[in-house]
């Protein structure tokens, strides 16, 4: 397949692997921020191709993993509103809230539909004018512009039964928060698709102020290996900076149309992250001008303040301070089929990955 095969060439990957083994002298820890990167690393077995000096740490960039329990509880409360249709991306439905999950609510009769694009939710709203269609907006700068576009379209077409429950998040505050908290990272493998929207300006401080390497990477194995090589070269020569590996998609200035949509519809708010707590200015809420489409404002749902599951150490794991083996729930009370914490929820979460590889 074009744009895939050329980035999976074994000889290229092995050549980069050899080069890394030659030049890597310092012990370095690189965080791959995006869930898509974590997935690629495991899918293509890249760990086995790295020298022992290079450590990879999974970051908080899996939108499903970081969606807070409070958000899930609110979404579940939405599903109980008479006449509501909940529309959601598929991998959210198994994520546990405080007492139940969307999957369990669906089994109990709630109208919960998996969609592949937010525009499908708009179509469902048009076809069911007597129902309230609530879209669960999750994801970073990659998915948020599509949600913004749908809200603008709903306004232009006077679709009055379409609502968004926004848990959209932005990336820079959480990356900065992790470093501020003292997580030991030498460089970031930065998220390719987020940066395609935002541009690279968001990382300038990480390099200039914190002295961290940043390379924006694509999602194929050649991309990932090349990005690791670029970071290693930066760190070996003690010259951290912001570079783009994923040049076929990412431009330094980002996508102005998408950024315009984000700015038009959303404003930043302090937001909850599963396992990490509240991070200032890390979430996106719908601006007053579009309040008619804001499910939170329309339904004024309040759910009890959830407490973190007892014994769960996901926060420390997401910060790279502990490993799943340090957790008393791991592989006992907390498994992929019955997850307790964020890191076990998504197949790409750190705990789920450890679970797969446990001996």
């Amino acid at each position: 397949m074009k744009y895939i095969d050329e980035y999976r060439k074994k000889d290229l990957i092995l050549a980069v692997s050899e080069e890394l083994k030659k030049i890597s002298k310092k012990q370095i820890t690189l965080m791959e921020v995006c869930g898509g990167h974590t997935m690629a690393i495991h899918r293509f077995g890249l760990h086995a191709l790295l020298p022992p000096t290079i450590h990879l740490l999974s970051g908080p960039g899996c939108p499903v993993c970081v969606s807070s329990q409070h958000f899930l509880d609110t979404a579940i409360a939405c599903s109980k509103i008479p006449g509501a249709i909940i529309t959601t991306y598929g991998d959210l439905i198994r994520v546990p809230g405080s007492v139940t999950s969307l999957e369990k609510e669906k089994a109990d009769g709630a109208d919960i539909r998996i969609i592949y694009s937010v525009l499908e939710a708009l179509e469902i709203a048009k076809n069911n004018p007597e129902k309230a269609v609530i879209f669960l907006g999750i994801g970073f700068e990659t998915t948020a512009p599509a949600t913004a576009a749908a809200i603008v379209q709903a306004k232009n077409e006077n679709i009055s039964n379409f609502f968004v429950l926004s848990a959209h998040k932005v990336m820079p505050p959480v990356m900065k928060a992790l470093v501020d908290e003292g997580v030991k990272i030498d460089g970031f493998i930065a998220p390719g698709h987020v940066t395609a929207i935002t541009g690279t300006g968001i990382y300038n401080n990480l390099a200039a102020v914190y002295g961290l390497g940043v390379v924006v990477a694509g999602f194929e194995p050649v991309d990932m290996m090349q990005a690791i090589l670029m970071l290693t070269l930066q760190l070996e020569s003690a010259a951290p900076k912001v570079e783009i590996q994923y040049k076929r998609i990412v431009h330094p200035e980002g996508n102005k149309i998408a950024l315009g949509l984000l700015e038009q519809v959303f404003e930043q708010k302090d937001d909850r992250w599963r396992g990490l707590g509240v991070i200032p200015a890390s979430g996106l809420k719908i601006r007053e001008e579009f309040a008619a489409f804001d499910a939170e404002k329309r339904y004024l749902l309040t759910v009890p303040e959830p407490s973190d599951p007892k014994g769960c150490i996901c926060g420390s794991i997401l910060r790279g301070q502990k490993t799943p083996n340090d957790c008393g729930l791991f592989a006992g009370k907390c498994t992929p089929s019955d997850p307790v914490g964020a890191c076990m929820v998504s197949g790409e979460g750190t705990c789920a990955t450890y679970y797969k590889y446990r001996s």
């Binding site: 077995g45 960039g61 598929g90 991998d91 198994r94 194995p221 590889y357």
Partner: protein, 340 residues
């Protein structure tokens, strides 16, 4: 009324004359055979082996018609294949229909016709059946259950049981993976992919019989349906306590399935098949079995995709095309498209 607009009514399941007509005009018309013609409450079956294999499966699929088949054809293939991978020669099937009130009669007949055709291809006889009609909303259009009986020869009775498997044994599949799951999903969801993906839905009994008759090397067989190749191999690794290593570059897979999986974030190893058999065989017999399989239309793309290993006990490991290795796990539930 235009016959195309005729619907199944509750009275079609009432036991009265209308039901009798449905049975005669739709079911008997297509299934006709000597045993069924007796119209007894239970079929009396001649058998020619000391042991028989017996299995049952229920079919609920949305949509009922998909590229490469429909629920009727699937209901035969599924049960025939379950018997075949157990080493049996499929002989008799029962068929039960649970129909939602209001279901179009012409669609029902199309499904029954396809079911009968597949039974003829597989050389199995439909010997008994049942029909129920339920109120609208009490089932989703049409559910079918088939049960099957097959004859078992002494030599073949162990092939479903994974005995005598040892490191070095080869793992063979008869063609491309993931076609059924992706074809059905593409037909059901609103992707609007102009995809050429077609279900592999097929009865494998003739292919499997050819292999068992011509090679003594088969140690285990299983059809990788729901959960895909990954589920069967993990079950095997678990059962034997041995490791399994799969070679990604050897996996037969169509471009269409690969493209859909890339877009949706699925692993083809987790996607359902309905016309595939995984065979574990003695390494010395691997090439011979491959040769036998490739002579059958359902085995043209047969390939040795991996081996049983002494290390990685209880685990399935994939050697990736890019030179890495990863564990292939069983899915927790249905594959869900991921957001990023």
């Amino acid at each position: 009324m235009n016959p195309k607009e005729k619907k199944v009514l509750l009275s079609h399941g009432s036991g009265g004359r209308i039901m009798h007509d449905l049975i005669e005009d739709v079911f008997i018309k297509h299934f006709k055979n000597n045993i069924l013609d007796e119209q007894t409450d239970a079929a009396i079956l001649p058998v020619d082996s000391p042991e028989v294999a017996f299995t049952t499966d229920s079919f609920v699929i949305d949509p009922l018609f998909f590229p490469g088949g429909n629920i009727g054809k699937l209901a035969v293939c599924g049960t025939v294949n379950d018997l075949s991978v157990s080493g049996a020669t499929p002989r008799y099937l029962s068929v039960s229909f649970i129909i939602e009130e209001g279901f179009a009669l012409d669609e029902l007949e199309a499904i029954v016709k396809s079911l009968a055709e597949e039974a003829r291809c597989a050389n199995v006889t439909i010997v008994t059946g049942d029909t129920k009609v339920v109120n609208k909303g009490k089932c989703d259009k049409l559910f079918i259950n088939t049960a099957g009986v097959g004859m078992v020869r002494k030599d073949d009775r162990l092939v479903g049981k994974a005995k005598n498997i040892k490191p070095g044994d080869v793992i063979i599949i008869n063609g491309t993976i993931g076609d059924h799951g992706m074809a059905v999903m593409n037909a059901r969801e609103s992707f609007n992919f102009k995809s050429p993906v077609v279900s592999d839905c097929a009865s494998l009994n003739h292919l499997i019989r050819e292999v068992l008759d011509q090679s003594p090397g088969v140690k285990f067989m299983r059809d990788p349906t729901r959960g895909g190749v990954a589920a069967v191999l993990n079950e095997l690794a678990d059962k034997t306590g041995l490791g399994i290593e799969i070679d990604e570059s050897a996996l037969p897979i169509t471009k269409g399935v690969l493209a859909m999986c890339e877009l949706l974030g699925f692993d083809p190893l987790h996607i359902a098949n309905e016309g595939k058999v995984l065979i574990v065989a003695d390494t010395d017999e691997g090439d011979h079995i491959l040769e036998i399989m490739k002579k059958n239309d359902l085995g043209l793309l047969s390939a040795i995709i991996g081996r049983v290993t002494g290390d990685n006990a209880g685990k399935v490991v994939l050697k990736t095309e890019t030179g890495g290795k990863r564990i292939v796990d069983t899915l927790t539930g249905d594959p869900l498209p991921r957001i990023c």
